[in-house]
């Protein structure tokens, strides 16, 4: 058995556990070898096996049960997101945040609490802000949806709100920022000259656990001068 001495700070220790001795095995091939598993490969494996399992479940289910009631919603919907109409298959119990992030790849919209208590998932639907985590996608089939990806100009120029947030160093960890941007844009679309109190009320549905509320508020007021 190897023995370990006390920790010596001058020695470069190899990270990770010491190699396991190959007990009771006399063959030439070791019983185990390192997988050189990287996080990426691991995730790939998980995704692939998931696809295989999911796919075979689909193949082997003799008949997919038909919708019991034909009046129920269709799964295929057309969503208008950031000015583009996109066809997407949506489950009845799917929220808009999931559809945006995992079917349309618009991962700017964040899921924070997933129960309408933080505002990270805020998007604009027909001019008003909503929590996309607490909205069934089927509900906004006919709405014009704007996410944080659709806020900047076509050529990549930042929206005045985004520029002002950068200048005011509003984001700290940045997780709430997409929601804050979207809420501020919706406010300025409706009311280009808000008072501080109006801005504070409009932004009150977005939590910032870093506590940078005043920075965001200053950003909104700064952006209001520019739009």
């Amino acid at each position: 058995m190897e023995t370990y001495g006390p920790y010596d700070p001058t020695v470069d220790y190899v990270p990770g556990p010491a190699p396991r001795p190959n007990r009771g095995h006399t063959g030439e091939t070791p019983l185990w070898r390192p997988l050189h598993m990287t996080r990426r490969n691991f995730l790939r494996g998980v995704v692939c096996s998931g696809v295989v399992i999911g796919g075979s479940a689909y193949l082997f289910s003799a008949t997919t049960p038909a919708r019991a009631d034909t009046r129920a919603v269709e799964r295929l919907v057309r969503l208008t997101v950031n000015g583009r109409a996109r066809s997407v298959e949506v489950a009845p119990n799917e929220t808009l945040a999931t559809t945006l992030r995992y079917r349309l790849g618009l991962t700017g919209t964040k899921i924070g609490c997933n129960q309408g208590e933080c505002g990270a998932c805020t998007v604009i639907a027909d001019g008003t802000t909503i929590y996309s985590c607490s909205t069934l996608t089927h509900r906004v089939r006919d709405s014009e949806i704007t996410t944080v990806e659709g806020v900047a100009g076509e050529d990549g120029t930042l929206h005045p709100v985004q520029q002002a947030f950068i200048e005011e160093i509003a984001p700290q960890c940045g997780f709430c920022t997409p929601g804050q941007v979207v809420t501020a844009v919706a406010l300025l679309n409706r009311n280009p000259n808000p008072t501080v109190e109006e801005a504070r009320l409009a932004m009150s549905g977005n939590l910032c656990r870093c506590g940078a509320y005043d920075h965001y508020l200053r950003g909104v007021m700064k952006a209001a001068e520019r739009v």
């Binding site: 019991a68 009845p92 929220t95 008003t128 607490s134 089927h138 809420t183 409009a202 549905g205």
Partner: protein
């Protein structure tokens, strides 16, 4: 990624008749409008109805109309933002406009409906977390034990369950003596606010008289209190999102400097909006002032039976009643 919601069938009927047909065909149907309360139930997997009926696309349930008697009809799926921003509501029933503004957060008000706000389930954390309490069909109350966290619970009308009404607009609507229009199988009923909200002594499993198959079509506010002196105040731990620790809504008409008629309702102290009838009979015919305030303070919370952690609600309620009366001076 999952929404953690169970699978359900979703219906989005375009007419009230279609909605009723679907409700008639499916025993286990849940009506959803804004979904701000419903989706939480599903995500927590406490309630798992197999069929959802989204009534938001039904035009008959939406909008604000003037009534002949000077009152208003408000469709059940009218959002709280629409109620708050409506000029008719603001000019005639400012207490309701204020109440709608104090609900939750802007995004929730943009989507949450007034019908959903009045008929949402209680916020008792034990019940919400899926404890098998009386309200959930069990045989114990987890909020009324020596160690239970019950600072948000009831002072009055306890019958096994100590949950309180979470709604802000329900308080204002009860003070304005609104009637709730309920449809079932093509039959329309108008239910007074006093009968619409029910306590645990009547049915411990629901907060309103709505039963499976009932659709709340709209709310009719009579012209009686239109343009009267009104007051609404909500006290909560946080200004946004939070539910009331106590709230008060008042409507009063004046004759000179004296109060000729008054309706005052306190919320979050009982399972139903609590009409402060003692305060009303005291105040009628009196002039608001220090003398009346002293008397109001004495009777406002009379009969309260606080639990372990909600004694603070007694002075809170008294002071809210005094502040409402003071606003008339």
């Amino acid at each position: 990624m999952t929404d953690v919601m169970h699978n359900f069938e979703l219906f989005q009927p375009a007419t009230l008749a279609d909605a009723q047909a679907i409700l008639g065909d499916h025993e286990d149907a849940w009506i959803i409008a804004g979904g701000m309360d419903s989706l939480d139930w599903f995500k927590h997997r406490v309630k798992q109805p197999s069929v959802l009926v989204d009534v938001a696309n039904i035009p008959d349930l939406h909008g604000i109309r003037e009534e002949d008697d000077g009152g208003l009809w408000i469709g059940a799926t009218t959002t709280l933002t629409e109620v708050n921003e409506s000029e008719e509501v603001q000019s005639r029933f400012p207490a309701l406009a204020q109440a709608a503004l104090r609900v939750a957060s802007p995004q929730i008000r943009n989507k949450g409906t007034i019908g959903g706000n009045v008929s949402q389930d209680t916020r008792c954390t034990y019940y919400r977390d899926g404890f098998p309490c009386y309200r959930a069909g069990g045989n114990t109350c987890y909020a009324n034990t020596p160690t239970a966290m019950n600072r948000e619970h009831a002072l009055f009308g306890v019958s096994r369950c100590v949950a309180v009404t979470p709604s802000d607009t329900a308080i204002a609507l009860t003070a304005l003596e609104a009637a709730f229009i309920v449809e079932r199988g093509g039959n329309r009923r108008e239910v007074a606010a006093a009968d619409f909200f029910i306590g645990p002594d009547i049915d411990i499993t629901r907060m309103t008289m709505l039963e499976r198959g009932d659709i709340l079509v709209g709310i009719r506010i009579p012209g009686k209190w239109a343009g009267s002196r009104q007051y609404f105040e909500k006290v909560a731990d946080r200004n946004t999102w939070d539910f009331a620790l106590a709230n008060i809504a008042m409507a009063a008409t004046m004759e000179g400097s004296a109060i000729s008629d008054i309706s005052i309702v306190c919320g979050a102290v009982q399972c139903i909006p609590r009409r402060l009838t003692d305060v009303e009979s005291l105040a009628r015919g009196e002039t608001p002032g220090e003398e009346l305030e002293t008397l109001v303070k004495r009777v406002a919370a009379r009969g309260a039976e606080p639990l372990n952690f909600n004694h603070f609600k007694v002075p809170l309620m008294e002071n809210l009643a005094v502040r409402a009366i003071r606003s008339l001076a």
